[in-house]
């Protein structure tokens, strides 16, 4: 295996790690605030669907005039000469919005009505896999897919400055040109989000309170800070980040929505979160590792290590097996936030 192949696999690992990373950070915010979220998968799916759908619908108005009507009044204005904003912008907003609606539902169920957070998450996953197909079929009649996205309806690859010029420099050149450059904007935002998450959680007052509410909500309440409001904020941030995960999946990694396209990524992200022991820096490592496993599995159907054939199914199952091993506490124990999963009842 030469250097270029390694770089290509790493490049693909970075791409595949990005949706996991967003979802993992999303789960980090929610679970650090004491709200378990096994509905990451469903939120990724709806945001992928809405991002692709709205992008596809707006694609028609890039050059053609778009009528804007006020509901129930019949009053219309027309944007002559087409909408001057790229369709993908609307796609991103729709993706984040859809995911936040489901996050809010999770919040209402688990914070306001003190329901079981795990059951709520299961319901959200089913809701997402059903509703995306039904609405998708109703809007596009393409058997649950959206139309193919082109041009400004999806994220374009960005070439970092001087990438072409330094390409010939030994070692560093190819790494910069092949691995770091040439990704879509969301990949870089994802890497930035890791740092931002760390900074918010560990260097701001809000972050301290958010972590406290996941460990000991009574103390936060005693200090006069609203537990309800903090938890809702955390759940909404979780929705926003999941929205970016799904948006990247449908408009960055792929060019449109396909039925069940999240394909268990929400659960791999959950696994990565446990693997990272609820810490942002480790979350990046875990997501890159799981992205790498997927990239290797995609590239090689069979892998031989020391003369033993490793089946591709084993590679697919490896993130889950590793998570169970970590959970079992044989290799460093993963201890979740203490108040996780418990609805908070204010004392009277």
């Amino acid at each position: 295996m030469d250097f270029m192949t390694v770089l290509q696999i790493l490049d693909s690992a970075l791409r595949l790690a990005t949706p996991l990373l967003f979802a993992c950070l999303a789960g980090l915010f929610s679970e650090r605030a004491g709200i378990f979220d096994i509905g990451l998968e469903g939120k990724i799916l709806v945001s992928a669907f809405m991002a692709a759908s709205v992008s596809a619908l707006m694609m028609a108005y890039v050059d053609a005039p778009m009528p804007l009507c006020v509901p129930f009044t019949g009053a219309c204005v027309e944007i002559a000469g087409g909408v001057p904003i790229a369709p993908i912008v609307f796609g991103v907003l729709a993706g984040m919005g859809a995911s936040m609606v489901l996050a809010l539902l999770h919040g209402v169920a688990s914070i306001t009505f003190r329901g079981n957070q795990l059951i709520s998450g299961v319901a959200i996953n089913f809701l997402a896999s059903g509703i995306t197909v039904i609405i998708g079929e109703n809007w596009f009649s393409l058997g649950g897919r959206t139309p193919q996205l082109e041009g400004s309806a999806r994220f374009q690859e960005i070439t970092l400055p001087f990438a072409e010029r330094v390409g010939n420099v030994p070692l560093f050149g190819p790494i910069y040109h092949e691995l770091l450059s040439g990704h879509t904007l969301l990949v870089y935002i994802g890497l930035l989000a890791v740092f931002l998450t760390w900074w918010v959680l560990f260097r701001t007052r809000f972050g301290l309170r958010l972590r406290a509410v996941g460990e000991n909500p009574e103390s936060v309440d005693t200090a006069g800070v609203s537990v309800i409001r903090l938890r809702y904020t955390a759940v909404l941030i979780c929705g926003l980040l999941c929205g970016l995960s799904g948006t990247y999946l449908a408009t960055g990694l792929a060019a449109g929505f396909v039925k069940e396209m999240s394909a268990g990524r929400g659960f791999i992200a959950l696994a990565a979160l446990i693997f990272a022991k609820w810490r942002p820096g480790y979350a990046l490592m875990a997501c890159l590792l799981f992205g790498l496993l997927e990239a290797i599995g995609n590239r090689f159907q069979n892998i031989e290590i020391f003369g033993i054939q490793i089946p591709v199914q084993f590679m697919q199952a490896l993130p889950y097996i590793l998570t169970v091993v970590i959970l079992a506490g044989f290799v460093g124990k993963a201890i979740p936030p203490r108040a996780g999963g418990e609805p908070y009842v204010k004392e009277r």
Binding site: F113, I119, S120, A123, G130, I134, Q316, A317, V324, L327
Partner: protein, 365 residues
Amino acid sequence: MDRMPKWVDVALIPLINLFLALVVSGLVVLYIGEDPIRSMWIMVKGAVGSTYGWGYTIYYATNFIFTGLAVAVAFQAKLFNIGGEGQAAIGGLGVALVCLAIPWPHWALALPFAILGGAAFGAAWAAIPAFLQATRGSHIVITTIMFNFIASALMVYLLVNVLKPPGSMAPETARFPEGAFLPNAHDALGVIGLGFSRSTPANITFAVALICCLLVYVILWHTRLGYQIRAFGHSEPAAVYAGIPPVRITMITMLISGGLAGLMGINAVMGEAERLVTDPVQGAGFVGIAVALMGRSHPLGVLLAGLLFGMLYQGGGELEFEIPAISREMILVIQALVILFTGALDNMIRLPLQQLFLRLGKRAT
């Protein structure tokens, strides 16, 4: 505090929740421009309007009763077994291995061994998460989710590389020997002179499911073990104080739960497909969660909710056939809403009703 009459808890609240779920689903149907009342009628007629419909309804219901009982038993010990999907798949593997082991002379001989095989494999798949929960405190929800994915990878690997007969392309086992075919509803009811559609997958496993409901009821409410399981579920510290060993109860509960999920293989693998395919469960493991919630974790409730979901699945299939604009995924939406309203948003209905009955109770005294 909660002085509600029993019928409110076991019947009224689930029915209100079901009604809410159907209303919201109706709104979705309305949004895509179809008539919800007509859709509902087509579903009911498709599910119970003919012996053909009943045959499929019973077949689906049998699957859901097994997985529903699995979730319900675990719920009684306050364990959330979300791994019914994987346990049922591995249980199906156990059933298939038994069926393929020898050329069975008669189904009546094969069935008990297949039951043992399915239950043992399903229980074994639940054993590792149970052990980790009991001894290392690993959250059982997460480990059972992970085990679902590991099970599905394992099934694909085994079928592609090990169990596939030589020369065959499809990732499935050879067809079972004829002696392992279970009599279907047509044959079984024909013995007592009842006519039934010939072409449905409903089979004698439904009787096994009914027996399991009864057994679970007896174990939970009429044995020492059942008392221990329920006590453990109500309050772990109190149970431990009373001398109930937590590790043992967790293990036994999860083994029963996994075994019940594994029995689903009898219906889906031995009764219907008569060979093992890569995904014999088809989401029934997750439907079990909805069934257990709806049935209030009681075997009788699980039986009724299982039948209801059987009707939903069969009726949903007919609905797609009659109104192509409503795809089969509508079932998933209804299922999600039932789980949401009965499970997560339960307090939305329960608390106001509690207030109401508290006030009524005060007025009466």
